[in-house]
Amino acid sequence: MNSAQTRKLITLTAIWAVLLFAPFWMLPLGGYTALATRVLVLGLAAMSLNFLLGFTGVLSFGHAAYFGLGAYGAGLTLKFLAPSTPLALVLGMLLGGVCGALLGALIVRRRGVYFAMVTIAFGQVFYYIAFQWSSLTGGDDGLRGFSRQPIDFGLFQIDILSNANNFYYFVLFCFALMVGVMGYILRSPFGRTMIAIRENERRSRFLGIPVERHIWIAFTLSCFFMGFAGALYALVNNFADPRGLHYSQSGDFVMMAVMGGMRSFWGPLLGAAVFVVLQDYLSSVTVNWMSFVGLLFVLVVLFFPRGLLGFIQRSKA
């Protein structure tokens, strides 16, 4: 085993250890378990977005739509279909992913800012549907009247509703599953092709890679992950909010990815942690937290464009 591999192993062990013991070390630091759960879910969302943004190099600024669709999918399942948490997660993921696949096919030929604009505008379509279809979605008030259900294994049940720690570990399990799949895809030939397209699209095209199809698949996969994260988020809050589909939420996700470091796999999780904790803190101390979040955007773009991890890596080199 060479030193690079050892370092990677140590990093991975450290990340998972931090995540596994989060409920224990967060409390003494003034955090609470529900905050850790939110970081995990939003971190998964930011990583899902980064799957497209950082590894395929396609700028989607409307990804909150698929996140929100996942949340509504899970909420509607629990409310109207069946009181089953796994089913809610699967259907939420499907709703986000399928809508992403359909729209992706429509916009996959655009690039750069134009891709961003069209994704924003189409993301708003879903926002308006959630906002206007009050009879189904609860409109402006959001979807209420459902709650996550105990996980039933036949012989025994795990209570994830009232026990915050149990729920955290349930979310961590889901997170690990999705991150595992994501990492597996990125290491597969398909994932390598995605990175090739990011690095040099024209050259990839000349090599005979069907670029549009790859981007479409990457977009769709990313929407599936995003839908799953959204479904988890609905379980966290027992509530689905139309503002979760709004483009300002997309902006937050992009910010998490950029702030953590777009070029690294784990960066967005770090970005999400910093962003969520900071927002939690700012909104408790000042009514003008919007200005500070805006200022954070400006400062990160101007001074830390490579994100926290990129910054650390560069100063080490």
Binding site: Q132, S291, V301
Partner: protein, 289 residues
């Protein structure tokens, strides 16, 4: 019924005129600098509040003349300090920066002027309806449409007949060649940005007289302006003009028959246009990518 129809079409045209002003500014900046200016709505709000602040001293006409250039100057400073370092980098960064800037402007105006709506007094003779039958056509509304038409006409004259305009159009097509011909591209981008922000400021003043002022009003106008650009075809200014009017009238007409859908209809319109003509109504081959 005819009156209701006429009422909503007029409303649609007036709203469409605002979309056009906003969208033309956004489009100018997008085409030349590849920057999606999320803070464009913020500049509209700044223009409106500047007008509100200076109206007591120099009257409505003075504010109408002075507020847009003042907004443009603020825009120039923002471009110089914040956006210029980002040219040539991934467009993601300017998008994020202006996104954060929009937050700051919205919260800042709320901080300075308060969250309540502010009225801007317009000259009394403009507030009169033209006739009892057409009670909804006030002088101010006609005046607004006239100002928008003049502004758009001047913009197109500027782009077609002045040296600056020719350079902007050339830069939109091929900025590298323009730079190679010895033209100061930084300056060109700054001036172009200022023209775009001027239009945002102008729509801010006009909107203030019609709707009153609120810190959030810019955000509401931003998304329809995006759609106006996409429907008209990205890269084409006449397209943006047509797109803005089209979605304005479409949402006005929908308000007659299905009021709940009057906002959703512009998104439907966008989806239909993109399905039938992926490049938008006036988009040309090669302009999009």
């Amino acid at each position: 019924m005819t009156q209701l129809l006429l009422f909503n079409v007029t409303n649609g045209l007036i709203i469409g005129a605002f979309y056009v002003l906003m969208a033309l500014g956004l489009s100018l900046i997008l085409n030349l600098s590849n920057v999606i200016n999320f803070a464009h709505g913020g500049f509209l709000v700044i223009g409106g509040y500047i007008a509100y602040t200076i109206t007591p001293y120099i009257g409505f006409w003075g504010a109408l003349l002075l507020a847009p250039p003042l907004t443009a100057i603020i825009g120039l400073i923002v471009e110089r300090v914040l956006i210029r370092p980002l040219y040539g980098r991934d467009p993601l960064y300017s998008l994020l920066l202006t996104f954060g800037l929009a937050f700051m402007i919205e919260d800042g105006t709320r901080f300075i002027w308060g969250p309540q709506g502010k009225p801007v007094t317009i000259p009394p003779f403009l507030a009169q309806p033209l006739s009892n039958d057409l009670f909804f056509i006030t002088g101010y509304r006609l005046f607004m449409v006239a100002v928008v038409m003049i502004a758009v006409a001047l913009l197109f004259v500027l782009l077609r007949y002045t040296r600056l305009g020719v350079r902007i159009r050339a830069g939109t097509l091929d900025l590298e060649t323009v730079a190679a011909l010895g033209i100061n591209v930084q300056m060109l981008r700054s001036l172009n940005f200022a023209v775009g922000i001027f239009l945002a400021g102008l729509s801010g003043v006009l909107a203030a007289g019609q709707l009153g002022l609120e810190p959030t009003m810019g955000t509401g106008l931003l998304m329809p302006s995006f759609i106006a650009i996409i429907v008209g075809g990205i890269g084409s200014l006449p397209g943006t003009l047509a797109g803005g009017l089209l979605i304005g009238v479409a949402s006005g007409l929908t308000a007659v028959f299905l009021p709940a859908a009057s906002e959703a209809v512009i998104y439907v319109l966008m989806a239909v246009v993109l399905l039938l003509r992926p490049r938008g109504l006036f988009g040309e081959e090669g302009m999009m990518t």
